[in-house]
């Protein structure tokens, strides 16, 4: 499905819910990445899912 992308203004206000640190927008994987928390929050149909238990861990042993 075609991803509508995220409103850039929304990206300006969003941070990692856990660390309140910055997020990097990974357009390719449709994720918002918090390096500090080691978590990547998914974006589904243009909607950032800012929930810790829905985030992917950046442990390195992932696909």
């Amino acid at each position: 499905m075609n991803d509508a992308g995220v409103d850039p203004k929304l990206l300006e206000i969003l941070v990692c819910p856990l660390t309140k640190g910055p997020l990097a927008y990974d357009r390719e994987r449709r994720e918002l990445v918090s390096e500090q928390a080691g978590l990547a929050y998914p974006i589904r149909d243009g909607i950032p899912i800012m929930l810790v238990d829905e985030a992917r861990r950046l442990d390195g042993d992932e696909t």
């Binding site: 929304l10 969003l14 941070v15 819910p17 309140k20 149909d45 800012m50």
Partner: protein, 293 residues
Amino acid sequence: MSESQAPFDRRAVRLHRARAAARATEASEGLFREVGLRLLDRLDDITRRFPVAVELGARDGALREGLAGRNGVAFLAQADLSESFARRCRGPRFVADEDLPPLGPHSVDLVVSNLALHWVNDLPGCLSQIRRSLRPDGLFLAALLGDKTLNELRTVLADAEIAATGGLSPRLSPMVDVRDAGALLQRAGFALPVVDVDRIDVSYRDPLALMRDLRGMGETNAVAARPRRMARRDVLLAAAALYAERHGDGEGRVPATFDVLFLTAWSPHGSQQRPLRPGGGQVSLAKVLGDGR
């Protein structure tokens, strides 16, 4: 806060909200609509403009229509704990846990929340996170259910359960009272906190209709220590009978009281009124009061 100490089971809250999202109708959203209008009324009393606004716990996003453009709101992002509710919001939206708002420091001018924060586990923590997300002189405007909410139901459920089982389990959530709310806002670092209460009485066809409606609203029990089974059917029926007997209007209809706390509080800014520092007075008190003779 460890899982065992947390008062609410947030997974249950999320589940209830998702269920509500699937079934939301104008009728089940009625209380939220009414309180939403009252929140907008409070904004009308304020002249300041808020270019960037966020609504936490936006449900189906109905408040957008009233909020966008009001008080100079140029950008409004709406968030809900439930993805299915967030999908129903039009315009910028995200999914977020109200316990952990993902908002950057000093990033927004206005945070609005309509009857969502009574389910958070750490209200003081939530409030100070909101305060930190506000720009100086930014506004936090929220409605939450106060401790007198559904008092009728709380009492009859307790009485019926004690009569049937000799024991009591938490069926309704604990809620905050006016004085606590004011103190919490102050502790969270807000300036000029104001809390006022509106009592909203809703009339139901009968007590069971009320219970069904609460489920439709996604507002049923999510207390972590709640019993995992539904209340026994005979207990529910006994409670319904007690409810009708004590509060009925003679034709079977019953009222339910929702005690809604409206919170307004500001992120501190030099232009706001403040008390003088102790010792900063220019006129001696003795002079004002006379010398006591």
